[in-house]
Each structure stands twice: as C-alpha cells, then as structure tokens.
C-alpha cells in the first residue's frame, strides 16, 4: 500500500481510460493524457501548444471564455452542458460528441482544471438509431391504425397504447382490468374471442392469438370491427404475457358484406332461374296431357248430360284420357331421371374434416358468429360420398340455422354438431342442432317440400335439394320431431367398404 500512496499524479493521469486534460487559469493546456491525444488526434507536443478554446467549434469559443472566467471565481467539481452532450473539435476538423466533467485542482497558489472527456458518440448514435426506429414504428402504426396491447395473463391487466384506447373508445391511459377490456366486446362475439384466447394460452400450443370481433364504444354506442393478432409468452409452462396488435377493419367488413350481398343476390337470381326453368319444363310436360284429359272428359260429360250417346266417340274419348294420364306419368319419371342424370363421383370421406370445411365455408359466406359445440369422432371410419355435395348440405343446414336464430335474435346463437354411428344400419350419422325457435308440426311436415319457404327472399329449394343430395349419396336426411327448443336435423351416410 505504501508504494501506492507514492504513485505520482502524472502516472495516474496517464493511466486513466478517460481522456483527461489539465488546463491552467488562462485556458492553456498543460497536460494531456494518451487517451485524450488518441481521442482528439493530437500528439503530446502539439496539444500543449493549444488553448482549450481551440478544442471546440469556433461558435462556442467566446461564450466559453465567459464560462471559464466564471469557473475561476467559483471553482467546484461539476459536469458541463447540463446533461446534454457537448461537441469537441478534433485536430482533423471532425466533431465528436462528449460528456465533459471539470475538477478544480489548486496547487502552489495556482488554479488548474482537470477536464475529463467521456466519448458519448457511440451511445449517442445508438440512442439516435433507437429513436429513429421508434419513430418509424410509430409512423407505421399510425398509418396502419395499429393499436398495441400487452396483457398480463397472470394479473389480468392490460397495458395499451393511445391507438388501442382509441379503438376501444376510451380516454383513460391507465392500464385496464381484463374484465373491463372485455366488456366493450360485442356479446355475440365474446365466446369466439374467448375460445381464441384459450387456444393461445394453451401451453401445448404455439401461443398464437388471432381473433376478430366487434367492439361497442361505451360513450357513443358505435360498433367497430376489430382484428387482433398476438403471441403469448410462456414461462415454465404458464402463459405470462400476451402482446399483440389490433386494427380497425370496419370498412373492409362493410365492403366484404356488400360484395357478399351482391354474390348472394346473383346466386339467388340464378337459383330462381333454375327453379323457374324446372317448373316451366314440368308445366309444359304436364299441361299437354292435362289439356287433353280435361277436354276429353268434358266431351264425355257433355255427351252424357245431353244424352247424345255415341258409344264409339265416348270410347275414343275415354281411351284418350287413359293414354294421356299414362303419358303424364311417364313424362314425370323421365324428367326426374333427367334431373338426376349427372352421375355422382364419390370418394372416401373423413366426415370430421368435411364438417370443419363446411363450417369455414359458412363463416366465409357470412354465416359465422355462432358458438360451436363440436362432438366429432376422430376414429370414425371413412364414409363414401361426394365431398362437395355433403359440404353443400352441411352449409345449407348451418345457414338455415343461423338465419333462423338471427331472425329470432337468439342471445347466444349455438349450433352443435355431433358425429355418430347408426350401428344397426351401418351408417354414419350427423346431427346439426341449433338453439333457435323450434318448428311447429305443420311447418315440419312441409319443410322438405320444393318451393316451401318461410324466408322472404328464399325460394324454398334448400332443404328439398339437400334431401335429394343426401339420398343420392345413399343416405337420408330428416328432421327430429317434437323438440321444445331449437331445430335438429339428422342425416346419414354409408360407410365406405
């Protein structure tokens, strides 16, 4: 230790990592350590020739002389620049950013100032880069209207940014409780959002969160469509945080809806045309024989009424009636054979997959938004059927259910889909049940008839066609009677052998 106390000032000065200068009262540099020589690019001889004002940009020199005079009168240890980085001038004219601290040293009646430079240039650049990147992010967020949220899964607290609050229609920038956050979400969409959240926080999953729902602004009652995606962070198998972004997609939704309506309109027009043509073909096929039968019969009746009995003529008329009635029947059979002519291509189907596909088709067609209860059977053997036709039937059933529940304003529209087996018939069965209004008996009887509809815009072919399609696939479609609530359709399909 004794050796150390004798360590000279000069040795310490030269060994310092920080760049250091010793300046006398007139501002002349008396000592400069190797670090400062390196930093500013001067040799030791050169730097001792200059004054401190020569180490700064010219514009600061005048002011600095005043500061120096002030410091001479009030010498104390301090930093310069009030926390802001200062600029030093290197020998080659480049400028570098520095933090500067001053320590007065009085020796032999003379005041010296020990100046320590800490180069902040690198730090400064990093800060600048961070600021720029944050700015870019902010602009991007603003342009995309993205709100950012950070949900503390454990404590059920949500931190959110300004845009996120705007999306939620709230002013306060305090973190919100999870329940309060959820209360803004449209009641019909809560179940689907909850399912997406539960899926995301499942430690066995990939932690991805993706949901689409409506929020209702408390103050104005305005309804907006929000899409949100995020990712859950797990710690030790527990979901800790869910960080994500949210975006207002109301305009896109409206556009989508409009397009869908136009598509529906076209499709419904097309279906109507098909129905009209079919009906017109039937009418033509039946009208000819009916006209003849009616006329023959009236001839016979008139003859009998007037007792003008010419038995050959009457026989002829009656034979005409019979022949025409027979012909009408044949025409109908031929017509049906023609309509069913297109041969069905069947394949082995996984019924569970077909149901999931049909659900997503229905959702894409604007018939989503219901709560799903899926009782699938992953081990169910393959059934034999035409994929598109079975899908069509399912979509039609979902669609009917959703429309019925929407009309009845069912609070939590639910469709449960169950897959099972009819053992004695060696058939797979699918049950589609909603919690909408139940059908009364009279309606239930007519529901499969062509052109029967309860909907103002429907043409009443949906269930008739669905039944025909299932029958064409070797199964049956029927309505389970006597339900107190909801409507339950059931269809069967044969297992593939």
């Amino acid at each position: 230790m004794d050796g150390l106390t004798n360590l000279s000032f000069r040795a310490l000065f030269d060994a310092a990592v920080e760049a250091k200068l010793l300046v006398d009262a007139s501002g002349r540099i008396v000592l400069a350590n190797p670090a400062v020589q390196l930093l500013l690019g001067y040799s030791e001889d050169e730097i001792c020739e200059v004054t401190i004002e020569m180490l700064m940009p010219a514009k600061y020199c005048e002011q600095h002389r005043h500061y120096r005079a002030f410091f001479s009168n009030n010498p104390e240890k301090r930093t310069m620049g009030n926390g802001k980085a200062l600029t030093a001038l290197c020998r080659d004219g480049t400028e570098i950013m520095l933090d500067i601290s001053l320590s007065p040293i009085k020796t032999q009646g003379q005041l010296y100032v020990l100046i320590t430079f800490i180069a902040t240039d690198q730090r400064f650049k990093a800060e600048e880069a961070l600021r720029a990147s944050e700015e870019r992010l902010r602009l991007a967020k603003q342009a995309a209207g993205l709100g950012i949220f950070d949900c503390d899964c454990k404590n059920k607290i949500i931190y959110w940014d300004e845009q996120m609050r705007r999306l939620w229609g709230q002013d306060s920038d305090d973190p919100v409780a999870y329940d309060e956050f959820l209360s803004v979400i449209h009641p019909e969409d809560r179940a689907a959002r909850k399912a997406a959240y539960n899926h995301a926080i499942d430690p066995t999953g990939n932690g991805e969160y993706s949901a689409e729902f409506r929020v209702i602004h408390a103050a104005s009652g305005i309804e907006r469509w929000i899409v949100t995606i995020g990712r859950v962070h797990f710690e030790a198998g527990h979901a800790m945080r869910l960080v994500g972004v949210a975006q207002d997609v109301t305009e896109q939704k409206h556009l989508q809806k409009k397009l869908q309506e136009q598509r529906d309109e076209t499709e419904s027009f097309f279906k109507q045309q098909v129905a009209t043509r079919t009906a017109s073909a039937i009418a033509h096929e039946l009208n000819q024989p009916l006209t003849a039968i009616s006329a023959y019969s009236e001839v016979i009746l008139h003859a009998l009424n007037n007792e003008e009995i010419d038995s050959d003529k009457l026989k002829g008329a009656l034979e005409g009636c019979i022949a025409q009635a027979q012909r009408a029947g044949r025409s109908l059979h031929e017509l049906l054979a023609f309509l069913q002519k297109s041969e069905i291509k069947t394949e082995q189907l996984n019924l569970n997959d077909v149901i999931c596909e049909a659900l997503s088709i229905a959702e894409n067609d604007g018939y989503g938004g219901f709560h799903k209860i899926l009782n699938l059977q992953p081990d169910l053997p393959a059934v034999q059927g035409n994929r598109t036709q079975v899908q069509k039937v399912l979509v039609n059933l979902f669609r009917n259910a959703v429309e019925a529940m929407r009309i009845a304003s069912v609070p939590t529209a639910t469709i449960s889909i169950s897959v099972g087996t009819l053992a004695k018939a060696n058939m797979a069965s699918v049950i589609v049940q909603d919690n909408g209004p139940s059908l009364d008996k009279d309606l239930a009887k007519q529901i499969f008839e062509p052109f029967f509809t309860t909907k103002p815009s429907g043409i009443g072919m949906g269930l008739a066609i669905s039944r025909a399609l299932i029958e064409a696939n070797g199964g049956q479609l029927w309505l389970d009677p006597d339900l107190n609530t909801g409507t339950r359709f059931r269809f069967t399909l044969p297992f593939a052998i």
Partner: protein, 205 residues
C-alpha cells in the same frame, strides 16, 4: 264474300290436344280444321277462310307469336286465340298488343273455350262486314273523277257550296252539278251517307 259457316282453325303440334279440342268444339256443332304446325296452316290457307284461329304458343319451328305476326303481314284478319302452357304476363301482353283476341291457359274448360270462340266469331263477322263495306266504298269512289273527288273531300269536311266554289275557283252552279253526280255515283242518299262511305273507303280526309 263468305258463303260458309265459321270454322275454328286449330294450330297445335300436340296430337292429343288437337284431337280432344276438335271433339269438344265439334260437339257444340262448330266445324273444326286442325293443323300440326304454323307452316301447315300457312300453306293450306285460302282467302275464304272464315271463323277464328286457335294457336298454341309453344311450337317447334315457327312458334305461335311468330305465326301471329306472319298472319298480320299477310293481311289475314282471322281473330286469334292463343293457348299456352303457362301464360306469363309479358308474353300475354305482347300477344294482346299485336292484336290477339284472347290468351287462354291450358288446360282450358269447355265453357271458357266456347265462349271465347263465339266472341271470336262475332269479331270475325264484324271484320268481314267491314272489309265488304270498304270494298264497296272503294268501288264507288273509284267511279269519281278527279274534280268530283276534290268537291267531295271539301263537302264531307262541312264546306257549303259557296265555299267549295271559292276554294276550287269554279262557279256555284258547277259545284251543284258535281255534287249531284257524286251522290248518284256513290248511291248516297244524303251528305251523312257520303261521309260514311268515304270513311269506309279510308278517304275521309
């Protein structure tokens, strides 16, 4: 012109309809002639056809509406009754606009068909009479000289002899001579009769 009873001409491609309707109409003591196509009717048509024509709208080749238009082109004035499987409104409006008398939907009842045929016969008679009058009027008017026509044209517009004379630059007396010749040539009893004849001959103006 027509020296026979009215006939119903049926044009329908469907044999059973032709047969049964023929039986029904004949039972009411009305003569029927049936044709299996528009073309068959057109080639069989004679100027003395009298009565009405029942046309099925839906036929192969030339359909009912096309036949109707062809009949108008050929100046066949038989009243037309359409028969159709399903009478959609635009089609029936079109048919009535082109001058069809009625538009019946299959299957048609005896009562409706016969009522329709009877009113078509009345219409046919009217049309034939009108044609005869026109023929007659045209024949009368053909006998007039150019000057007599000029005088007649002014007379039926209500001009007095003095006005006619001034208008044509002839004497009052000459107008009187022309008028008496006109009355004699057309067999008119008075001015009102003359007006009727000119109208029937489409020379009213």
């Amino acid at each position: 012109m027509t020296n026979h009873e009215p006939v119903v001409y049926i044009v329908d491609d469907e044999p059973s309809v032709r047969d049964s309707l023929t039986l029904m109409i004949e039972q009411a003591n009305i003569s029927v002639q049936s044709f299996e196509s528009a073309e068959a009717f057109l080639s069989a048509y004679e100027a003395d056809f009298f009565g009405c024509i029942i046309i099925d709208v839906k036929m192969p080749e030339m359909d009912g509406l096309q036949l109707h238009i062809e009949l108008l082109h050929r100046k066949v004035w038989l009243p037309v009754i359409f028969l159709t499987g399903h009478g959609d409104i635009p089609m029936s409006v079109k048919a009535i606009k082109t001058g069809a008398l009625d538009f019946l939907t299959k299957p048609v009842t005896r009562e409706k068909l016969l009522t329709c045929i009877r009113s078509a016969f009345t219409e046919a008679k009217k049309r034939v009479d009108e044609a005869a009058h026109k023929q007659n009027a045209l024949a009368c008017l053909a006998k007039l000289t150019q000057r007599e026509r000029e005088v007649m044209s002014l007379a039926v517009q209500g001009c007095c002899n003095k006005e006619i004379a001034a208008c044509l630059g002839i004497s009052h007396r000459t107008v009187e001579v022309h008028k008496s010749k006109i009355m004699w040539k057309t067999g008119s009893i008075n001015l009102l009769d003359l007006v009727r004849i000119t109208r029937e001959g489409d020379l009213g103006k």
